[in-house]
């Protein structure tokens, strides 16, 4: 450790990784998406003209080659009869909805698929809801004229996925989520140093534990702040008493209490020992708070109450290329700050000793 804090390669690595994260995370464009479909509901046996608004799309460049479908399930889809391009992100498409659908449902949902050579294929699930005036599945199957999805294009280049509610805020994954993971790593390191302090009673380990805890608190505060901004755009308010927001606040209070406790003891050895004991106790109390309770209650966060979890479709391979480095980068920068605090604590201690002599 003493050697490592004098070396510069890992600090430089941390800075480089974060520069990469900021550049890649902010500049790589999102995949084209569909933000608006109007009207979003219609009836059977009609000619419906759907107004489509795209995001990051180039309908005007694609021109005549643009194609659209309403997809009912994996086998059945209806192609647009006429498409009118109004601009790079605006288009109108006319669909003929048959009188009977091969479905038992009163309201059948259709996904809208747009394909062109410039943007590749984009999908909006549940884009149009069709209400059936009368249900006859067999007649629907007989009369169905299928237009299969053929020759779909794939967009070239590196992109992040487009998600309907998230939009551009999907980039916050590299800050909010990775700050949070880095905080957990730093807190675990702080607990390890607390345990080492209790085993050896060396004050060095106590300086490490308190510096790491302070950095963890900083990262946690930043995680809460970036989460609040994200919540403002996706859930509508900075703070909605979501169980994870609540438990995070409590977790940060526990670590603030750690510093209140440290202030209460003038004697260094006693302060070190008792705050190490509290740090371990608080960390153990934190585990149910962060990992168990949020899974029992409904939450707006992904991975709770039926929302999809991180991973799967939410974190595709391009995002992984930025997300995992971000975790490492924040952890390295956090360690750097902690090592600076550790050294300043050491110097302070030595100066105090000299002054007392």
């Amino acid at each position: 450790m003493q050697k490592l804090i004098r070396q510069h390669w890992w600090k430089a690595l941390g800075v480089l990784i974060l520069i990469y994260v900021f550049i890649a995370g902010m500049l790589i464009p999102l995949k084209p998406g569909i933000t608006l479909v109007n009207p979003s509901s219609t009836r059977t046996d009609t000619e419906v003209v759907v107004e489509v608004e795209g995001y990051n799309t180039n309908f005007d460049q694609a021109g005549e080659s643009i194609r659209m479908w309403l997809k009912m399930d994996d086998e059945r889809s209806i192609a647009a009869q006429q498409i009118e391009v109004l601009g790079p992100t605006k288009a109108k498409a006319a669909f003929r909805i048959p009188a009977y659908l091969p479905s038992q449902q009163k309201v059948q949902d259709f996904a809208l698929i747009i394909d062109n050579p410039v943007d590749g294929a984009t999908v909006r699930p549940n884009a149009v809801l069709v209400t059936q005036d009368s249900i006859d599945q067999e007649l629907g199957e007989q009369q169905w004229k299928n237009d299969p999805l053929t020759n779909l294009h794939v967009r070239d280049g590196i992109t992040f996925p487009f998600r309907n509610i998230l939009g551009e805020t999907i980039r916050n994954t590299y800050f909010h989520v990775s700050l949070w993971l880095a905080m957990m790593i730093i807190f675990i390191a702080a607990v390890v140093y607390s345990i080492r302090h209790l085993r050896t009673l060396s004050l060095d380990y106590d300086y490490w534990a308190s510096s790491l805890t302070a950095v963890g608190l900083l990262l946690g505060g930043l995680g809460l702040f970036t989460g609040g901004i994200w919540a403002q755009y996706t859930w509508g308010t900075f703070w909605s008493w979501d169980i994870k927001q609540f438990t995070t606040l409590i977790a940060l209070l526990i670590y603030l209490a750690y510093f209140v406790l440290r202030r209460a003891f003038p004697d260094e050895a006693q302060r070190a020992r008792i705050s190490a004991v509290y740090n371990i106790f608080a960390f153990v109390a934190l585990i149910p708070l962060i990992y168990v309770l949020p899974r029992l209650t409904d939450s707006l966060h992904p991975g709770n109450g039926g929302n999809p979890a991180l991973g799967g479709e939410d974190l595709d391979n391009t995002m992984r290329m930025v997300f995992y480095p971000a975790v490492i980068g924040w952890t390295l920068i956090g360690s750097w700050i902690a090592s600076l605090m550790y050294r300043s604590n050491k110097i302070e201690e030595q100066l105090m000793d000299q002054w007392e002599e």
Binding site: I254, L261, Q270, I274, V277, F281, V284, A285, V292
Partner: protein, 219 residues
Amino acid sequence: MNMLQQTLRLLWRDWVLEWRTRYALSGILLYVFATIVLVYSALLDIQPQVWNALFWVIILFAAVSAIVKSFVQESQQRQLYYYSLVHPLALLVAKMIYNTSLLFLLSLLSWLVLAFLTGNPVKDTGLFVLAIFLGSMGLAIAFTFISAISAKAQNSATLMAVLGFPVIIPILLILVKIGANALRLMQDTAIGGDIIILVAINLILLSVSILLYPFLWRD
């Protein structure tokens, strides 16, 4: 004396001390009456939801006021004398058992008084008694250990509140949920899972306290 005998002896001593002064018992009755009168005069009608919240607030403050003196009421010199007589862990475990039983009794008492004054909204008595017992145990374990920490400093009552409240929030969250189930405010078929988690939190806090106490008591 072996450790079990020491623990029982210390437990008996704590109970005798409480019975002589009846400090905690009279304190909790004051809490219950003051809270009920205040809330009643403000709301004029106490709904089961409010009742559930009130009950756990009373238990929380009763726990703080009863347990804060665990390690403070005796001087450092007398503590040292105890440690020379008995195993330090026996002292901690005895305090925890005493605080659990005291808090359990106080909870039953305040339930009785609350029910007398506002009617008893508890539909599932067994579940509610279980919640009270596990809650008393969790609060007693966490607060006893925190009071052992804060007793080392001056101004320990404030310090205990600052250190203790965030730590017991998970226990309180689960207790309010089980309480709401016992009052039939909500129906949760998976309430067994919550009870198991509460038991697990209690056991983890207990084992961590026992592991860490040897580092705490010597000075």
